[in-house]
Amino acid sequence: MAAGPALLYWFPDEAGPATAGRSRTPYLGHQVLARRGSAIHVLMIEDDAAIAEMYRLQLEHDGYTVTVATTGELGFSTLSGSTPNIVLLDLLLPDQSGFEVLASLNARLPNHPPVVILSNYGEPSMIDKGRALGAVEYLVKSRVTPAEISGQIPVWVERGRRGRQES
């Protein structure tokens, strides 16, 4: 019996990798893409050290520069100090919610890098809210692996760049 593929039967059209964005490009392709080793700077706003460390391992392995901020406020100071190419944002943070971070980001830094929400909650209302606040993607953490995220990052960065050009 093949153990490899994750069989998520209850995988509705919400926050699953199968429907990441509107493109249904296979992940493997992006993984190859990512391994070219760009100078992409990833800011991860995540208070769970185990998750942050795991992602750092994968992303740095794939050649990204990774900064981890454990609170929303630390995330802001990182954003004002340097300019990451993409923000991976958790929703449950010790000082404020990810939605609040995103809302004030929209207000204070209109040209902020693309934001991908990574949460443990995948309720339709929260996904809609995240999208309404301008997140390029909303994903449920347990449904994706770091490798899948890593592979998708160039796509999101590109989408964010195009989005800014259009606006």
């Binding site: 019996m1 069989l7 429907t19 490798a147």
Partner: protein, 610 residues
Amino acid sequence: MTPAVTLVQDLTAAGFVALALAIAYRWYRERGHAQGKLAASLLALAFVAGFSRLPPSAFLSVVLVIAFMLSGFFVLLFRNDFVPLSRRVYLAAYVLLGVSIVVGVLDVVALQHASPLLMSAAAFVLITAWAIFTGEPIVRFWLASNSLPAVQKARMRFLSLGFAVLIAILFVDVLGGSALQSPAALIITQLLALAVVPLIFVSLAPPALLRRIWRMGEENALRPAMQDLLIFSSNQQELADRAVFWAVRLLGATAGFIADAKGNVIASVGIDADRPVASISGQGDETHQVVRAPLHLGDEGHGTLAVVGGRFTPLFGTDEISQLRAYANSVSAGLQRVRVTERMAAIEKNKSQFLNLASHELRGPVTVIRGYVSMLEGGLLGNLNERGRKAAGVMAAKVSEMNELIEEMIEAARLEEGGLTLRPVDADLREIARSAVATVAPLADSHHRVVLDLPERRVRVRLDPDRTRTIIANLLSNAIKYSPGGGEITCQVRARAGVARVAVTDQGLGIARDALPILFTRFGRVITPQTEHLQGTGLGLFLGRQLARLQGGDITVASVEGEGSTFTLQLPVAGAAEAAPPPSSPAKAESDGAGAAGQPSGAPQARAQR
């Protein structure tokens, strides 16, 4: 005086004596406080009726006049017990009693030989006083009866009517004078007076048959109300509120309340919120006005259904009081039912909340395990040897299973909280089935053959494609899981008469007939020696059916134990009129990695349903 007149007069006298004795006996047995006055009045009246049959003497006449006036005065006192008279009226009544007795005695002693006019005037004063004593109460009773339940109303009206007839007879007698001294007139008036006896008796001690007749109309209205009350009240508060309302109406009372076992009032009607209930239910002066019936609340003890009697309730509501006790038993049962329902709803809610919380909390650790396992497998954490790779593979499969369980639990919680949103789009059911088969392909062993049997024309449906794929994939994965011996698994898609069907048929273990009902329940798993080692959450079919029903469809099952099962997902075809099914032979497609197809379509289904 003819013998007939004498006979009727004797009969009337006997009737009144019998009535007075019966009422006095009832009063003696029950010691009804209020009925005492009425019993005294009737005794006095009977005394008059009885002793007036004796040979006349001056002394007897004086005694009879006094007894007669007292019989009227007691009716006023009787009424005074319910609605106290003002002090002035009360004094005036005593003065009137004194004056009338003096006039009566004068009439007997001094006016024997005066002019008939003067005698008539004296008699007029007497019966006017008597009419005032009895007339005021009977008018009041009649008016008060309007707002009361049928039995009380009838009883009060009969009492009023009885005394009204007596007053009328007395006036006619005195005013009619010699014109009414003919035997026929005497017999008629005596018979009328005799008719008063049953009227008054019925008002004070109505026989069961009469009560039933009086109550009939009311009970017809009460019965549906009771049913509504006991069966359809959705929560304790609603039931208690309605129960009090009906209890008050049933007794024609002014107020009422329901207290639980601890004495807390949970519902009330007509009670001033500022007024402490203790003062009503306590041992104060008003105690006799409060009618109480115990409510049996199971292990919680006894509550109380209490009704604050109206002014005439204690006397005229005796029947309703016993009815109230029976009613209280029904209310007890209803309250217990609602309590159990509420408790179960609370448990269900807790379960859903727990499901929701636990599943979200589980996502965190699963994320980390899943992430690291995938990195182990991918070699990112260093190269593993053969055994290590194998272990990583098993871990990845198990963590996926765990993830699946969590997702199912969240979906189930969402479903029960009503937070599940479907996103319907126009789709081809063949495409959905195809992708579902692709999803489960990795599960199939070499001895499983997954056959996809699709019609040539597209099957147009409007539904949530991801959830529908999930339902079909779940049916397929069950078919594989419960066919440990391998065999063919068919996924057949058809559309006919506006209904699209996806039938998933296996040649596996099958399901015993008596186990079928639990299949679709939440956490309902059929555990047999063959299946106990197979893992599952018992949520898949529950969710599948619920999701199918949310989309206007359903899942049905046909199974023969030991031979296999067919689960059929039915869904409405979009624009059903247009979707006439083609009778052409269906095209068959093989799923990835499955063996050769070629079995005639429909055959597995027929086998399983045999």
